[in-house]
């Protein structure tokens, strides 16, 4: 659904961000795009949405070049950025003005999502809502467009705890073969058990692009009181009540939960080891 080949992009001549970037994102997945500040996550999202132009290379989303900014492309794409904008109008007017642009917009689904998020749509103008309410409104609208590409930049920022859980449930329900969902976030714990595969960007390069299944087939994680011995440890972190440990090999421990924050730290602090374990596949190249 999304193919990027040898793509280059920089902010000015001196700040090259992406050099010959290759990436392929398949439908049916909820990609988690992770990375430190300035890694290029948001820029990547802007490029695949046609909001930034790469200097060269191929970017193909749903069979078209997003830079052409065709209406038939944008009515299948929904991008909810971190910094939200809602116009100073009521929710009902917003729906009547914006939904005609999305041929697959489903009002019943919008009502359902709004209800799940406990949104009060009669409560005045959208711009007078709290940040969290605005976000929930735009998420409900975005999901109701039934877009084939759903891009969410820091979607859980500003959401209260119950809403985060509703968000995970609703987004998980959207995953199907005809749709690709990309979630870029620093709040990795908010999207645990939701994102799969995991893509890690660093300095404009993909240093990791694996499904959870593939990940767990080669490495194991545990939370233990003492550092285990006799294992091929990749990384450990001291945490409350002991250690978080990542070791090479499948099924080494009985733990079933994967801590995404620890996983992220493992990857960014052990790039070479990870590269070695996952071979060419660690950056998504087959």
């Amino acid at each position: 659904m999304i193919t990027v080949k040898k793509m280059n992009f920089g902010y000015g001549k001196k700040r090259q961000l992406f050099s010959d970037l290759d990436m392929h994102l398949e439908g049916g997945n909820i990609y988690g795009l992770l990375g430190k500040n300035g890694a290029g996550k948001t820029t990547f999202l802007k490029i695949i949405s046609g909001l930034r132009y790469p200097s060269n290379g191929v970017v193909n989303v749903l069979g078209v070049n997003p830079a052409e900014r065709k209406p038939s492309f944008y009515n299948k794409l929904c991008f909810i950025p971190e910094n939200l904008y809602v116009p100073p109008i009521s929710a009902s007017l917003y729906l009547s003005l914006y939904s005609p642009f999305y041929p697959d917009f489903n009002s019943k689904k919008f009502e359902k999502y709004s209800k799940d998020f406990e949104l009060d749509l009669e409560a005045g103008k959208l711009n007078e809502m709290s940040h969290g309410q605005k976000k929930k409104f735009l998420l409900a609208f975005g999901m109701a467009t039934q877009a084939s590409v759903l891009i969410l930049d820091e979607p859980t920022n500003g959401l209260d705890i119950p809403s985060k859980s509703v968000f995970r449930r609703l987004v998980a329900g959207l995953a199907d073969e005809k749709r690709v969902i990309i979630i870029s976030t620093h709040q990795v714990r908010d999207v645990e058990n939701l994102i799969d595969p995991i893509v890690v960007l660093e300095n404009g390069k993909i240093i990791f692009n694996q499904s959870v299944e593939s990940l767990l087939s080669k490495v194991s994680f545990t939370h233990t009181k003492k550092l285990p011995e006799g294992i091929n440890e990749i990384y450990h972190e001291k945490v409350m009540g002991g250690y978080m440990v990542c070791a090479e090999g499948s099924g080494l421990f009985n733990d079933t939960d994967l801590d995404f924050e620890f996983l992220f730290n493992t990857i960014v602090n052990n790039k070479e080891k990870i590269q070695k374990i996952f071979g060419g596949n660690s950056n998504g190249k087959k």
Partner: protein, 270 residues
């Protein structure tokens, strides 16, 4: 059914609706402020017994100052991080996003501003009649001067729309200054060209008195003594200048504005 990705009337209409409903606050505030001001001035002049056509003086203010000012904020959304995402990913083509604003801030503004001002003038004269007995003629937009004024606005507002697409801040002032600079440059170049072509009729930078008389009476049938074929050359030049001016003003300015907006929208990034 595959929809046209370049232009679709329904999409254009939907796009215009969004612009109208989400950005009408400035129109309402500006209209209320100007309407109030016009009522007060009309009342004061009626109080002092002045019965001249003051509304003919007010209308250009709302048409030009108001219209050019709001036109220079028409594309403000492409310059702000939050709004630019929403605006650029809205499923409408660049052509629709160009034409839509031109129609709203051009024809749409003229219709609303004119209708509004007719209403203000009627209201003000009703008040004047009740309070001061002196009244001014009610504003009549269907006059030749008004039509010319509206035509001038429609041709020129695309430049301010272009300014709003190009300038992130203070688009109105910047566009105005650029127009002044370009106008001065054109005047200067025209004067220089004129002086070069008709150098023999100049005394320094001063046109000699004979040719001056010819220039003054170019549009009249007054019998003026020709000086070495100058009159016929001047008449030709006058015709050429008129034609060039018309093409420039009614063609190049609005089309240049449209192209400027279109290409800026094409290249705009978040």
């Amino acid at each position: 059914m595959v929809k046209n990705d370049v232009f679709d009337f329904k999409r254009l209409f939907d796009y215009m609706k969004i612009d109208f409903f989400t950005k009408n606050r400035l129109w309402l505030i500006g209209g209320a402020a100007f309407g109030g001001f016009a009522l007060i001035i009309s009342g004061i002049t009626a109080f002092f017994g002045f019965s001249g056509n003051i509304h003919l003086g007010f209308y250009p203010v709302i048409l030009y100052l108001g219209g050019f000012y709001i036109s220079s904020m028409a594309y403000s959304e492409i310059h702000m991080g939050e709004t630019s995402y929403s605006y650029l990913t809205l499923p409408a083509s660049t052509l629709e996003k160009t034409i839509g604003k031109v129609l709203i801030y051009g024809v749409g503004y003229v219709v609303l501003a004119t209708g509004f001002y007719v209403g203000v003038s009627i209201l003000s004269e009703m008040i004047n009649k009740i309070l001061f007995t002196t009244t001014h003629p009610v504003f009549n937009p269907f006059r030749w001067e008004m039509m010319y004024m509206i035509g001038f606005y429609l041709a020129f507002h695309t430049i301010y729309l272009m300014g709003s697409a190009w300038f992130k801040k203070h688009a109105f002032i910047k566009t105005f200054l650029i127009i002044i600079v370009i106008s001065l440059a054109i005047t200067l170049v025209s004067l220089l060209a004129f002086k070069i072509v008709f150098y023999e009729y100049f005394d320094g930078w001063q046109i000699k008195s004979g040719p001056q008389q010819i220039m003054k009476h170019l549009d009249t049938t007054a019998a003026i003594t020709d000086i070495g074929g100058l009159k016929s050359r001047m008449i030709t030049l006058h015709k050429v200048f008129n034609a060039v001016w018309k093409i420039y003003f009614w063609g190049i300015i609005p089309l240049g504005g449209l192209f400027g907006i279109y290409f800026k929208l094409k290249e705009a990034e978040v």
